[in-house]
């Protein structure tokens, strides 16, 4: 495990543990949809061999589900002096640094499950679609506070495109 990406001297802020439930529920929805879709060949052809397909899907999705808590713990962000640092991913790790001045807008979205748990997702939008900084699973108050903080920081470091 020494080959994992890591940044020295970063004190990551983590997202709410309640987000695990959101992730589990959305993964379950995807699992059901995939199981139905992958069962169609077996159901239509009545060939037993085709049942391997949904079986494989089931195994993979159970593994994905098992790793949800660790995946949620792998999400982190930190407000540094001049940029926002964001990390995500367990198997596919991703680190992004965005200067505050690059902010175009901040989006706060809440899905049905998130809303029930009092969570929301914060999306930091830059002029580059590939920046893709989306911090999920923040408590509503935290998300709004973070948004105001980021907007204020961006205002002091206004930059062009």
């Amino acid at each position: 495990m020494t080959n994992r990406l890591d940044l020295p001297a970063v004190d990551w802020r983590r997202v709410s543990p309640k987000y695990v439930l959101v992730d589990v529920i959305s993964t379950l929805v995807v699992t059901v949809a995939l199981l139905v879709a992958s069962s169609i060949p077996a159901y239509v052809s009545r060939v037993t061999l085709w049942w391997i397909l949904p079986a494989v899907v089931l195994v993979i999705m159970v593994l994905v589900l098992a790793f949800v808590p660790r995946r949620v713990r792998a999400i982190g962000y930190q407000l540094r002096d001049d940029d926002l640092l964001f990390r995500r991913g367990l198997l596919f790790q991703r680190f992004v640094s965005v200067p505050y001045g690059r902010m175009q807008l901040i989006d706060i979205t809440r899905g049905p499950v998130s809303r029930a748990l009092g969570l929301s997702d914060l999306h930091f939008v830059t002029a580059a679609a590939s920046s893709s900084v989306e911090i999920p699973g923040l408590l509503v108050v935290d998300a709004e506070e973070l948004r105001d903080q980021l907007v204020a920081l961006a205002e002091t470091r206004r930059a062009g495109l």
Binding site: N3, R4, L7, F95, V96, S97, P99, R102, A128, A129
Partner: protein, 528 residues
């Protein structure tokens, strides 16, 4: 306001004034913050072509009837013929009256729509308002200008008119001034760029009054070189000659692939003798190839790229002329790349990412993103020096190594040897370097490419790692820029090196962003 051209005066000037003589209308006067009208032929050029076409069809249909009418041939008209119907029983005067009424109505609508279509250029914004019934107002902020394009379609050139397209950051956010008198367009662009640059110095307009007649001017414009020699110092101009252009198109990857497919299809037909089916498949290929070649050719013919005080000027076109000026700091990433067959003659092309998306149709896509359609290494380095102003000679040397070099020479940090698993041909080339203010990502063993991102334009920096890379202790770095054909990323780097790149480049981007002032590129008061 000075001579009744502004719309808020009740007395109206002569509409022809803007057309004749163009030299008398000084370019600077159009950018004085007042509302101005467009070229009087605008409605005709924007929508009137259809009207002329209909009139043409009408006349050709009616020709026989008209001849009969004026030369008194006796009627023997079939009943189904509308013209026969009209000329019988004395309906003709009524019909002519109707046609005249329609014509007058169209002229009145044209005149009114021309009257209400006005534009204004102030220190901050450029505004266009138009529409008789549905009024519309379009505003573009000068400090967000990504480039100004002057297009002279063939038909508009006959009238001495040109279209000015101001690219503002954003999807389909262009402000179009169509049409202006051709002689004014260049001067107006200079004025807009001067206002946008933030300089307070005003320059004298130096358009000499043109004393030739209307026809003389049109002829002079048609035979004039595409790039006026007084615009740019000749040593800064890079041109593409036509032989190289044709060669580059024939050796391009797309051509090559399609030719291979055609040959394969021909062989298949010879072997299996199923000519019909093969032809059925071949025709679309040949059509696609032809249209691709034609498009690429027309978009690159008479190509020139030059440095002007307000940015890089890119011009091309044979019948429809187009030239665009990109102010400094509007290019978000640059890629030099080489399609595989271009290796033989040693040619390269340069593509860029820009913040504006032109609403022009598919065929124009190349214009926006290809800065140099084909050039040898020398041309490429000269164009890069234009696109990255302030590059020193040492930096040029690093760029040269980035394009053709391998190994660590020139300050490149390369992939480790174990990256051969993921970069079997390119691991010697695969690496990054920095010149002041610019990140260089080099890669590709067979399809060689070099990607450059000015740090002041980078939106964010990233580093990623998947399971395969983890097993090899490698990582991938990304520099995110606005969307476009160029993706600035480099895989197969040592993990520690990649993390180091992430740390240092993210710091440099922050400092470059905070000191960047290109949105008002001449605000220090210097005039170039």
């Amino acid at each position: 306001m000075t001579d009744g051209e502004a719309t808020n005066g009740p007395s109206e000037g002569d509409p022809i004034k803007d057309l004749l003589p163009p030299g008398a209308v000084l370019a600077t006067r159009l950018a004085d913050g007042e509302w101005h009208r467009l070229h009087p032929a605008t409605p005709l050029l924007r929508g009137g072509i259809v009207f002329i076409a209909i009139a043409g069809v009408f006349v050709s249909e009616a020709r026989q009837q008209l001849i009969d009418l004026f030369f008194g041939a006796p009627g023997g008209h079939e009943d189904g013929d509308p013209f026969g119907f009209l000329t019988r029983d004395g309906r003709l005067p009524l019909a002519l009256l109707g046609i005249a009424a329609v014509l007058i109505l169209i002229v009145v609508i044209f005149y009114l729509s021309w009257r209400v279509h006005t534009f204004r250029i102030t220190d901050e914004v450029v505004e266009v308002r138009s529409g008789l019934i549905r009024r519309s107002l379009r505003k573009g902020r000068l400090d967000r200008i990504q480039g100004i394009n002057i297009v002279r379609p063939f038909f508009a050139r006959l009238f001495g008119a040109a279209r000015l397209e101001i690219d503002v950051a954003g999807h389909d956010a262009n402000v179009r001034l169509d049409y202006l008198s051709s002689a004014n367009a260049d001067g107006l662009r200079r004025d807009i760029l001067r206002l946008a640059s933030g300089t307070k110095h005003s320059e004298e307009a130096h358009t000499p009054p043109d004393t030739r007649g209307f026809v003389g001017q049109r002829v002079a414009e048609f035979i004039a070189p595409e790039l006026d020699p007084s615009f740019a110092p000749p040593e800064s101009v890079v041109r593409v000659n036509i032989g190289r252009l044709i060669g580059s198109i024939l050796l391009h990857d797309t051509t090559f692939t399609l030719l291979v497919l055609i040959v394969l299809a021909a062989i298949a037909s010879a072997t299996f003798g199923v000519i019909e089916i093969v032809i059925y498949f071949l025709v679309p290929f040949v059509l696609a190839l032809g249209s691709f070649l034609f498009r690429r050719f027309t978009k690159s013919v008479r190509y020139s790229i030059a440095s002007t005080p307000d940015g890089v000027r890119v011009g091309f076109g044979l019948l429809t002329l187009s030239n665009e000026t990109l102010p400094p700091g509007r290019i978000h990433s640059i890629q030099v790349r080489q399609p595989i067959l271009w290796r033989l003659p040693g040619w390269w092309e340069i593509r860029v990412n820009r913040a504006s998306k032109s609403n022009a149709k598919g065929a124009d896509a190349q214009r926006n993103t290809t800065i140099l359609p084909v050039g040898n290494l020398d041309d490429v380095l000269r164009v890069l020096a234009l696109l990255l102003p302030g590059t020193s000679l040492e930096s040029i040397d690093v760029l040269r190594r980035g394009i053709v070099g391998t190994g660590p020479a020139g300050g490149f940090s390369n992939s480790p040897r174990r990256a051969i698993v993921v970069r079997p041909f390119a691991f010697r080339r695969n690496g990054f370097a920095e010149i002041p203010g610019v990140v260089l990502l080099r890669g590709g063993g067979i399809w060689r490419h070099l990607t450059m991102v000015p740090e002041a334009r980078a939106q964010s920096v990233g580093v990623t790692q998947g399971p395969l890379y983890r097993a090899l202790d490698l990582a991938r770095v990304h520099v995110h820029t606005v969307n476009g054909p160029v993706r600035a990323e480099l895989g197969g780097l040592d993990r520690d090196v990649a993390v180091g790149f992430f740390g240092s480049v993210s710091l440099e981007v922050v400092s470059a962003v905070s000191t960047d002032a290109t949105h008002r590129w001449r605000a220090d008061g210097s005039t170039a």
